[in-house]
Structures are given as structure tokens and as C-alpha cells.
Symmetry: none
Amino acid sequence: MSRINVLVVEDEPLIATDIEEYLTNVDYKVSTIAKTKTEALNALKNHDFDLALLDINLGNNMDGFDIANTINSHYGIPFLYLTSYSGKNIVNQAKVTRPMGYILKPFEEDDLFCSIEIALYNHGQNQRPQNLCLRTINDQIFLKITSKEFDILEDIFEGKTNKQMATKHYVSINTIKSHVKNLYEKLETHSRSGTIVRIRELMNN
Amino acid sequence: MSRINVLVVEDEPLIATDIEEYLTNVDYKVSTIAKTKTEALNALKNHDFDLALLDINLGNNMDGFDIANTINSHYGIPFLYLTSYSGKNIVNQAKVTRPMGYILKPFEEDDLFCSIEIALYNHGQNQRPQNLCLRTINDQIFLKITSKEFDILEDIFEGKTNKQMATKHYVSINTIKSHVKNLYEKLETHSRSGTIVRIRELMNN
DNA sequence: TGCATTTTCACCCAAAAAGGTGATTTTAAA
DNA sequence: TTTAAAATCACCTTTTTGGGTGAAAATGCA
């Protein structure tokens, strides 16, 4: 497995080399340090990065936000802001660009490492199975789903048949049918696929 | 708009009150401070939180991970770890629980504020409806799905029955069954719900 | 301890889906 | 215009689901 390839965007050379050293120490690879927006966009165009670390303020401009937007629309890699701005205003501007983290200067090697690891992992998982949440569902329906019923619901959501569920849970298929029937009543559905659709809806509110 | 309701899980009273003060300063509401796993789970059961801040280590146990798992499966609120562990091992254990952030002690008020704001925003945005894409699907299977079959597939994904589809498309139910059969062959599935699961997978790559 | 809920299971019937075979008509491309 | 692929439809059998009724354990609280 090759090392994670990082783009560092930072206009202050001293800080940039600091970051580079930190990242190298924890086994990431810094293949480019960009000092301006132009350099950053160029690097993005010409290389494949796994992650970007963005300073928001580059030479008196909030160019970090622009870079973030370009990353979102064109490259889809995760990124974190490394900045000394902590004001409400800036943070609100920053959050709508959907960074995976916001680290305030000064920071330490470990801060960087932990946040990056979480960011990379979450980014990788984000286009992935959506998992159900009992509370979210129950908040939206009148007759509440019990925890056993919830287990069955998860299996239905995974496409399992009654027989498979009976085997998995070491109970009679009749028991499964009973749970399924109760689920349909509580969710006001009448079929497995209809139930999956319903759950998709409930989990998106 | 009422203030963000935060659950703080921290076994060290001094740190807990520090966190509470920080959060109150930046206009969050700390409605519960839990010192043990039991207290935390109880609080989650009895209150509606918008966010949780978890210490990983509670009295010599890694109970923070358990709490995180319960949050994911039962409550679906975003959470951040506040901890002094920065080892690779711990971080790797932590990331699979999908925290929205990982903040190392000691931290400051602003660190907390920035990370929480990002976490809350990203969590809120993460739920989205998904739509199918023929190209994406066909790129991943050997026998390609035709455009008519794709129409049927969309209906299956929406939970429709064969009869409903027949009515909608002005064809015999036998025709629908024929299309469905072909879809199962091409997608290597054997049921409607299994097909929905398969499509979910194919659309997430 | 007693009561309510949950979980377990059985049996029955009807409806829907799954699986197979075969065949005709349309459509689109060579 | 021939030909292959796609779309249409029929019929049949078996399996799985859905829907209804009822009831005995097990569990969890009060």
C-alpha cells in the first residue's frame, strides 16, 4: 500500500515546512506545497492527491474557500482547513464548503495525524451503506418498533429472506413472519421492498 | 432556534466542568455530564441530544467506543472524541466508530467550537436521496441492462409490484415478469429486495 | 409478586413472486 | 433487407410472502 499523497496549501514557508515534516514523520507523502490559489489548482489538475490541507488565507485573500469549492466540484478528495481564524463568521463560511476538519493553529503533529486519519476514513465510508437508526425511525412513527423487530428490519433492509433470518436468529420461521407482520403494521407497508423504500425515506429526515 | 444540546461524557470532573464552561461560552447547552458508560447510555435513552463529546477512556475501560457504537445504531447523532490518546492503534479503533472529529487534550475553546460547527453541519448534510444511473450500473456488470429493463429496475427500487408496473407501463403483467426475470439474471439476484440491495451497492462505487 | 409487553411459535389461506419454456412482434443496426 | 437484439405475451409449477387468528413462554417493570 502506497503512502497517502497530500497536497499542502500554505503561503507561509516556515509553517509549510513544519507541516511537511509532521506529515512525513507519520508516514504521509507531501508531493506538493502550493503557496497560491493558482499553484494549488494547477497541482490538483496535474496530480492525484488523496487529501488536501488548506490554509484559508493566502496573501490577504480567502482563496482557501475557492480551492475547496473546486476540490468539491472537480476532484472529490477530502480536505481539512489549517488556519488561525476561529471567528464565527469564518467558520460559517468554511463549513458550507464541507471540509472534513478544521484545525486551529498552532497545532501539533498528533492533532494533524488524528484528524487526518478520521477524515480519510470517513470520506471513504461516506459513499457507503447507510445504516439504520432505531431512534430516528421511531421518532416518526406512532407504534414504536421494538429492538428485536429492529434487528429483523435491518435484515429486511439487507435483502434477507424469512428463512435466512430464521437460521441466523435461531428461531422458527413463524417467529420471523410474526415480527415481519408487526413491522408492516407499524411502518404501514405491505411488502419487503415497500418497507425498504419507507426506511430510506425515514432515514433521510 | 434553541441552543444545541450536548452530551458530555468525561470521567474527570475538572475537565468536564472545563468543557461545560467552554461550550456555554460559545452558546451551546450542556444538559448532561456523564461520568460512566451506564450514565451515558441512560442519558441517551432519556434525552434528545444534538451532539455528544466522548472521552474514550472511562475509568480504565475503552467505554467510549461502546457508547459510540450505541449512538450509531440507536440515536444517529454526531459525536466527537475528546481524548489524550493519539496512538495509531487507538485512532484506528476510533475511526471505525465514525466520529465526526477527534480532538486531542489539551484543547482550547476555539478548537472545540470550530470542530463542533463543522461536525454538526456535515452531519446534517450527509443524508441524501439516491438515484440510479444506468451507465454506472452497466459499467460494473457483464450482461448489460437495456433501457426498458432499467425503467422496470427503477420501479423495483421504488417498491412497486409487478401489477403496478404493468398498469403504469400499459403492458401485460407477463411482460413485466419477463423483464424482472432478465434483470435478476443480469444482476445475479433472486428477489426484489436482494435486487434493491445490489443496486445500492452498485450505485456506491 | 403481579402485570404488561415482547418474543416466541403454530396453522391456515390467499396473493405475489420466482423460475422455466416457448413464441410472436418490434426495433435497431449491419 | 436481412438479422440480431429487445420487447412483448402465455402458461405452468413451486416457493415465498402477506394476512388473519390465537396462544404460550419470556422479559421487564412497578
